[in-house]
Structure formats: structure tokens, C-alpha cells
């Protein structure tokens, strides 16, 4: 029962994203453009680019995830679907976890895939591509999960978009530090496993606790 609810909901959200491709494309294009503007602005000094590359790519990933968070619950809230989800057969925590998973598949996974192309512009060394992708693979689901808390807390508020940023960006800081740090570590010739393991731990903790926080926030939002 619960698995079928998760499957149905993920499939529905992917279908909706397919029917509204421009929304998903906006976040991805934003990521590409922001990350591509820095080499143009900073100048083509390879050492400098190599030094700022991981940080810039990670910040761009953070901002691009933020951009799509507003839609995570707002559309379902506006058309009444969220009420029906809250009255569904599965616990609301499971439902919102499925929604966060779908959000990651649409907004997070494409960033992981496109990251090596961006890394090319920063002249990152080949072995770093794997570390960058792995750090994004572990980190972007955390962004979706934590972001869902912010999206649920700002349900039905005017100007919710700005408020989400204020609420969520501070919580993203550990992910940013660990993610960018792991690539910088590998660039310095050290093992990035420490940062990556911590990112993995963040993922496990947020996957375990964020859905329940989101469920409580959604219930309050619906009242």
C-alpha cells in the first residue's frame, strides 16, 4: 500500500514535470548560466578558476534548487490536491517523502549529470569529476529534503518565495561546506572520504527526520 502510494505520487509528479517541461528546464538553465558567468567575470586565469570552481558549482546548485522549491507544494495547495494527499491512505510523512524524491529527480539529478560539463569550464582535473558528481549525488537530495521543510512552512503565505530562501539557505550551509570541501580536498591531493561520509550521514539523517517535520508543517499549513 505505502509503496504503491510512493510509486503513484512519484510517477504523477514526473508526468506533471514532463507536461510542463519549461519549469524544470528553467532551474537547470539557471544552474548552467550562473556557473558559466563566473569564468567570464573573473577572467580566464586557470589557477584561479580551479580554486573557485567547486565552490561556484555548489553555490549554483544551491540557488538552482531554491528556484524550484516554491513549486514543491504550492501548486498542490492551490488546486486542493494537497488536502486529498493529507487524507490519503498512506501517512503524510511517506507522501511528502515521495514528493521530495520526485523533486530531486526533476531538479537535483540533472545537476549531477550536467556537472562535468560545467567543471570543464573551470579546468578541473579529470579525477575530480567523479568526486564532484558523487558529492552532488549525496548532497542534492539533502537540499530537496531540507528545502521541503521550508516550502511546507511557507504554504499559503504571500511572498513565500523570498521567505523560503531566508529559511532554507542557512540550513544549506553545512551541505555547501562539505560538498565544495570534498572537491577542494581531492584537488589538494588528499582523500575526500571524510567529507563524503559526512554528506552521506547528512543524507541519512535528513531522509529519516525531514519528512516528519514536513508532514507537521503541511498539516499546519492546511489548517
Amino acid at each position: 500500500m505505502m509503496l504503491s502510494v510512493v510509486r503513484t505520487l512519484v510517477r504523477r509528479d514526473l508526468l506533471l514535470a514532463m507536461r510542463r517541461r519549461s519549469d524544470a528546464a528553467t532551474a537547470l538553465l539557471f544552474f548552467i548560466i550562473v556557473a558559466s558567468l563566473f569564468p567570464l567575470g573573473v577572467g580566464a586565469e586557470p589557477n584561479q578558476l580551479r580554486a573557485i570552481g567547486p565552490g561556484v558549482i555548489w553555490v549554483a546548485a544551491l540557488l538552482s534548487t531554491m528556484l524550484s522549491l516554491g513549486r514543491l507544494f504550492a501548486a498542490d495547495y492551490a488546486d486542493g490536491t494537497l488536502e486529498q494527499l493529507a487524507l490519503g491512505a498512506a501517512p503524510l510523512g511517506v507522501v511528502v517523502a515521495a514528493k521530495a524524491l520526485a523533486h530531486w529527480l526533476v531538479a537535483g539529478l540533472p545537476l549531477v549529470v550536467i556537472a562535468p560539463v560545467i567543471a570543464l569550464q573551470y579546468d578541473l582535473e579529470r579525477p575530480l569529476y567523479g568526486v564532484l558528481m558523487l558529492s552532488l549525488l549525496l548532497g542534492t537530495p539533502v537540499l530537496s529534503l531540507i528545502g521541503a521543510i521550508g516550502a511546507a512552512l511557507t504554504l499559503g503565505l504571500r511572498g513565500g518565495g523570498v521567505l523560503i530562501s531566508l529559511l532554507v539557505l542557512p540550513l544549506y550551509v553545512p551541505v555547501l561546506i562539505l560538498g565544495a570541501g570534498s572537491v577542494a580536498m581531492a584537488a589538494a591531493g588528499l582523500a575526500p572520504s571524510g567529507q563524503l561520509l559526512l554528506l552521506g550521514a547528512l543524507l541519512v539523517v535528513s531522509a529519516a527526520f525531514a519528512p516528519w517535520a514536513v508532514a507537521v508543517a503541511v498539516r499546519i499549513g492546511l489548517e
Partner: protein
């Protein structure tokens, strides 16, 4: 089956109703009446568990619904003000997804039959009129015949006469099969004569 005890509801500092108690058994029909803003929708939302009452409790077969959570949700259908339809999907896709999420068995033929019984065209919901959206939302009732409790917020709003009388027929069948229905309405309907009335206008 459904028991409301001493319900009190306060919204933005105003008390809408207080000390409201009633019981709802099988085959019973209850109409919630009252002018705009008297708390009809709030009462329905309290009954389905979306809204917590300021005071009092709602019990389902003797257990508070707060404790039952999803177990209670599976026993009810709530059709709210908003049609809960996705604009980018067809009515069929909407209905299929709604059934799966509610844990109902959803055979494709049954879904198609429910939609055609309500005369919903097979277009993306974005292209449907207000009344057609309402019909698409109400089609859920036909695949929820096994679900005992129906809570309907303005089921007849935006419907034409034919669709409204068909909806009444569906509700009547559900009552005969042992179900219970609570609804709110502004338009007078033939059902009203069979219904027990809870009037929120007289506190």
C-alpha cells in the same frame, strides 16, 4: 459511527460555533446549513480531520480520529471546495491517481465508466468548464461506493440540473447501501427533505 462531541471552532479570533454535538449512523444524511461564513466548510474540515477543533473531539466508531489518522482517512471521501484536479492531466489520469492515493482498487473500466456516467469529456482538465471540473471531481464518488463516509462541500455548486439530480441519485444509492453522507449546500435540492439539518446560524 461518526460522533462529534462538544465541537467548538474559532477562526481568526471569531467563534464560529460552540458546543456542537451530533451522531451520524449508517444510512443517515446530514445537511449543514447556514449563511456564508458561518463555518460550514470549517465543520466539514474538522469532521475529516484536516482542521483541529478548538474544543471537543470527533470520534469514529468510538476512537478519536486524531488517533486513527490514515485508518480513518481510508473510511471517508472528502470532496472540498477545490476540485483537487491537476490542470495538466486528463480527468481519467486525475481519477486514477486519486484512487491509488486513497488506496482504492482502480480498474480502468470502472474509472472510465464513472467519468462517462458524469459526462466528463476526455480533455485536459485545463480545457474543462467549472461545471465539468465539478463533475470530474464527483466521479470519485462512483468508484468510492465501498467507502462508508462521504463528506461533500457544496456538491451541487456549478452543476446543471441533470448533473445535480444524478449526483442526488448517487448519494441516495450510497445511503441505501448503508453509507453516511454529510453535505453543505446553498441550492435547494430534493435530497433536503430526507436530511437532518445542522444549522450553524443559530448558535
Amino acid at each position: 459511527m461518526l460522533e462529534a462531541a462538544e465541537l467548538e471552532c474559532e477562526r481568526s479570533g471569531r467563534t464560529l460555533f460552540r458546543g456542537l454535538s451530533f451522531n451520524l449512523g449508517p444510512r443517515e444524511l446530514v445537511r449543514i446549513a447556514g449563511p456564508n461564513g458561518s463555518g460550514k466548510t470549517s465543520l466539514l474540515r474538522i469532521l475529516c480531520g484536516l482542521l483541529a477543533p478548538t474544543q471537543g473531539a470527533v470520534r469514529w466508531r468510538g476512537t478519536p480520529i486524531r488517533r486513527l489518522a490514515e485508518e480513518y482517512s481510508r473510511e471517508l471521501v472528502y470532496i472540498g471546495h477545490a476540485a483537487a484536479l491537476k490542470d495538466d492531466l486528463t480527468p481519467f489520469e486525475n481519477l486514477e491517481i486519486a484512487c491509488r492515493l486513497a488506496g482504492l482498487e482502480a480498474r480502468r473500466e470502472a474509472l472510465a465508466a464513472a467519468l462517462s456516467a458524469f459526462g466528463v469529456p476526455d480533455l485536459p482538465v485545463r480545457k474543462l468548464s467549472q461545471g465539468q471540473r465539478r463533475r470530474a471531481a464527483l466521479a470519485r464518488l462512483l468508484v468510492s461506493e465501498r467507502v462508508p463516509l462521504w463528506l461533500l462541500d457544496e456538491p451541487f455548486a456549478a452543476l446543471d440540473a441533470a448533473a445535480a439530480s444524478y449526483t442526488e441519485e448517487v448519494i441516495g444509492r450510497h445511503l441505501q447501501a448503508g453509507g453516511s453522507v454529510v453535505y453543505t449546500t446553498h441550492q435547494p435540492a430534493d435530497l433536503d427533505s430526507d436530511a437532518r439539518v445542522i444549522d450553524l446560524a443559530t448558535p
